[in-house]
């Protein structure tokens, strides 16, 4: 073969190699399944990813024997999959087995091909202490079950078929702090309430008209005033959060959620035309009590008792405050820098407040009727 031809051929083959390489998603790997669990109220929730390949080897998914496993064949086989899982997977507290409910949740790709995702809902009489796992070992003793219960990976093997759970399943302190932060950041209503409180808070105190200039307050003084309001809000919601988490009776969630939305409407309208004659922090305290009930569901769902619950409460609440302070640190200086513009007090505050009031009003309707009007 001539040298140029050889070179051209090598180039062509290399191109083919790459094409094949990027296309081949189904690399070889020993058999693994991935089990993710988290405590939830009385029991646990999570999911299991099992390789279609492994399901096929054990349950023969290829009904028509054509050598191709289709979506329909997987659907059709699911009752058998459920039965197999029920026989080879157990969550229990001591000798009390939880009742497991499995549901199909689509196909997930892993590095060695498609996996079936199965959602697991476990109803238990006490706390979950152990997981028993014996999937696929009969067909492949090299199979591993990778358990992720939030505290680093643990592995079921042919030799190790039981792993402890409950003690480690309570999320770590830092994880709870993070949850608190995210809870504040992802909860649109709390953010909106905060911003609503802040909009007029940076304005010159006692300022009646724009033609009467006053001594401008320093950023520090403004911040201190805001801090007082926010602290009142925080103390209040910590109280009800603790009460709710510790199991004291809480109002129905629909009521709480609707009342929170209503509180936002009121706070927003107050910015446009003062409704509350009392001190602002008293109002913030009252509304904070309401918001605390809203948070408490998160902790109740973890199903913790005793010291772990107190720890989680502390961490979660700390996270909520960190998230709040972070928002303040960004928003307050920004608003402070805007207050010198007349349009800020005259236009931006009322318009923004009205928009907030409208959004919150929609929430009230949604939460009372249970129907979603605006997606998100």
């Amino acid at each position: 073969m001539s040298r140029p031809l050889q070179r051209a051929l090598a180039g062509l083959l290399a191109a083919l190699a790459i094409f094949g390489a990027t296309k081949a998603a189904e690399a070889h790997k020993p058999s693994d399944a991935y089990l993710v669990l988290a405590a939830k109220g009385d029991g646990a929730r999570g999911h299991l990813d099992v390789a279609l390949r492994d399901l096929h080897d054990t349950l023969d998914l290829d009904r028509d024997g054509a050598g191709q496993i289709t979506g329909a064949e997987v659907d059709e086989a699911f009752p058998r999959v459920e039965k197999y899982l029920a026989e080879h997977l157990a969550l229990r507290g001591g000798a009390n087995k939880c009742i497991l409910h499995f549901s199909q949740n689509g196909i997930v790709p892993h590095s060695d091909g498609p996996y079936l995702r199965v959602e697991i809902d476990a109803a238990c009489t006490g706390s979950v202490t152990d997981v028993d796992y014996s999937l696929f070992f009969r067909r492949d003793p090299q199979h591993h079950g990778l358990l992720d219960a939030g505290d680093g990976a643990k592995i079921f093997t042919n030799e190790v078929r039981t792993l402890p759970l409950a003690a480690n399943m309570a999320p770590g302190f830092l994880a709870m702090v993070r949850d608190g932060i995210f809870h504040i950041w992802t909860g649109a209503d709390h953010l909106l309430f905060l911003v609503t409180l802040l909009l007029p808070a940076v304005l010159f105190k006692g300022r009646k008209t724009a033609d009467e200039p006053h001594e401008p307050e320093t950023l520090r003084a403004t911040f201190a005033g805001i801090l007082k309001t926010v602290t009142a809000f925080t103390v209040a919601h910590s109280l009800t959060l603790a009460a709710g988490a510790l199991g004291l009776p809480t109002p129905a969630s629909m009521l709480v959620e609707s009342a929170i939305a209503a509180s936002i409407v009121l706070a927003a309208l107050d910015n446009v035309r003062p409704l509350f004659t009392g001190r602002r922090w008293v109002v913030a305290f009252g509304l904070g009590l309401l918001h605390g009930f809203g948070f408490s569901g998160v902790l109740r769902d973890l199903g913790l008792r005793g010291p772990p619950l107190l720890k989680a409460l502390l961490a979660f609440n700390g996270g909520v405050e960190i998230g709040q302070v972070a928002v303040l640190a960004v928003v307050v200086p920004l608003l402070f820098s805007l207050r010198r513009f007349r349009w800020y007090e005259r236009r931006a505050v009322p318009i923004a407040s009205l928009v907030v009031a409208m959004i919150a009003a929609v929430w009230i309707v949604e939460r009372v009727t249970g129907r979603e009007l605006i997606p998100g």
Binding site: Q6, R7, A10, L13, A14, L16, A17, I18, G20, A21, T22, K23, A27, H28, K29, P30, D32, V36, A38, L52, R53, H56, D57, D62, G65, G67, I69, T70, G71, N105, G106, I107, V108, S111, D112, P114, Y115, R117, D140, P141, Q142, H144, A153, R178, D179, F182, I184, W185, T186, A188, L191, V195, V327, V330, V331, L338, F341, W343, A348, G376
Partner: protein, 403 residues
């Protein structure tokens, strides 16, 4: 109007900032993947291709499984199924088959007193899983039960991997008594790594030009001669033998990898392209793909990153399941793809603790030198000197390691 313009800019800034704060909350899921769900496929979508029921090999395995379901102590069915699964593992390089081979042996796997046949199969599976000492223990027991060249050959292979060459040579001699051609290959394999690479080539020349070698033995003998020639620094001779071996048995992963390594050492544009080209149709083989990734990186191939990414993902999955089978590949990846000698060195050391083939010796030397800790390459250097390992690349590395 100056003030008005500023004020509109500031309004924009205000809304952008508030929007950003809210958006940062909206788009960051608090619980990772807790609510993630998979794609719901169409009923007609083909999700996975498996062996069809009409496939004769699949039909045989099915029949054997049915026999075992009726009688789990049917040793003949168990060993035949295990053997077929091991063969399938070799052919497809899919480790799931090794697990299935183990399962096929069922109750015999953990018998207190397994037969020689079961011991040989168990050792073969254990060797494939890189459990070399356990494999050797099985083979030692098996030789006491039965004089069998197949057992002795497997024993010689495991002993050579462990660097116990005297015992390996003795095992090869026993193979020769019953199977002269296989025994010659076995002996040449040991000679090649113990300072007698030239006699090894001569021995293999004789076997390959004689009429004694069976067709299915020829690719194996060619790959052995290629290795002996590589020890002598003759990459050209090695390459042509490896190409012939692959022509005879395209599924011979060992020859394929060796050929890729030879191309990579050649280190010119054309040879690197050839090393990449050898991955075609073998995308499932991590070892083959690793060589492709190394060659792609050295050739500054546009897809080099894609190669590396895919391997990295597989390594992550292997680590998650607690596997250490692929230490050699992991170390090679760290050293030659990531260029991270500090990470490669402990892996290369751990690997050298398990296996001591020329590739392992070279890897530890290269990693230690690249990490500027040449002293940590000393075990490999000592081993190379003690066993009189011939190899021009290794010989060039040795002076860089303190004696």
């Amino acid at each position: 109007m100056e003030a008005a313009r500023t004020s509109w800019g500031a309004t924009g800034a205000l809304f952008a900032a508030v929007g950003l704060v809210i958006a940062s909350g909206f788009f960051r899921p608090p619980e990772v993947a807790a609510d993630a769900h998979g794609d719901v496929p169409a009923a007609s979508a083909v999700l996975l291709t498996v062996a069809p029921r009409s496939d004769p090999a699949e039909a045989t395995r099915r029949a054997l499984r049915e026999r075992l379901a009726r009688d789990p102590r049917d040793e003949e069915a168990a060993t035949e199924l295990a053997e077929r699964c091991i063969l399938q593992a070799r052919k497809t390089r899919d480790p799931r088959w090794l697990g299935q081979a183990q399962a096929a042996l069922g109750p015999f796997w953990s018998d207190a007193d397994p037969s020689a046949e079961v011991l040989l199969l168990r050792a073969t599976i254990r060797q494939s899983l890189h459990a070399f000492p356990e494999a050797l223990a099985d083979l030692d027991r098996a030789t006491r039960l039965r004089a069998d060249p197949q057992i002795e050959l497997t024993r010689a292979t495991v002993l050579a991997i462990l660097g116990r060459f005297d015992e390996a040579r003795a095992a090869c001699t026993r193979v020769s008594e019953r199977l002269p051609v296989v025994g010659a290959g076995c002996t040449a394999q040991i000679e090649a790594v113990t300072g007698s690479a030239r006699p090894a080539v001569v021995r293999l020349d004789a076997v390959l030009t004689g009429a004694g070698a069976a067709t299915e033995e020829i690719p194996w003998l060619l790959s052995l001669r290629a290795e002996a020639n590589l020890r002598l620094g003759d990459r050209g001779a090695a390459r042509s033998d490896l190409l012939r071996a692959l022509a005879g048995d395209p599924l011979d992963a060992y020859s394929r990898i060796l050929l890729q390594d030879t191309h990579i050492d050649e280190a010119n544009e054309q040879s690197l392209a050839a090393a990449i080209a050898l991955t075609v149709g073998h995308e499932n083989d991590d070892a083959v793909m690793l060589r492709g990734a190394i060659a792609a990186k050295r050739a500054h191939h546009p897809q080099a990153d894609a190669f590396a990414r895919e391997l990295r993902e597989k390594q992550k999955a292997a680590r998650e399941r607690g596997d250490t089978v692929h230490r050699r590949e992991e170390a090679l990846f760290a050293l030659h793809v990531d260029g991270d000698a500090a990470q490669a060195l402990p892996l290369a050391e751990a690997n050298f603790g398990v296996q001591k083939e020329p590739a392992d010796v070279r890897l530890l030397l290269e990693a230690a030198i690249a990490a500027h800790e040449p002293l940590r390459g000393k075990p490999a250097a000592d081993f190379a000197r003690k066993t009189k390992l011939e190899d021009p690349v290794i010989a060039a590395l040795l002076p860089q390691v303190p004696q």
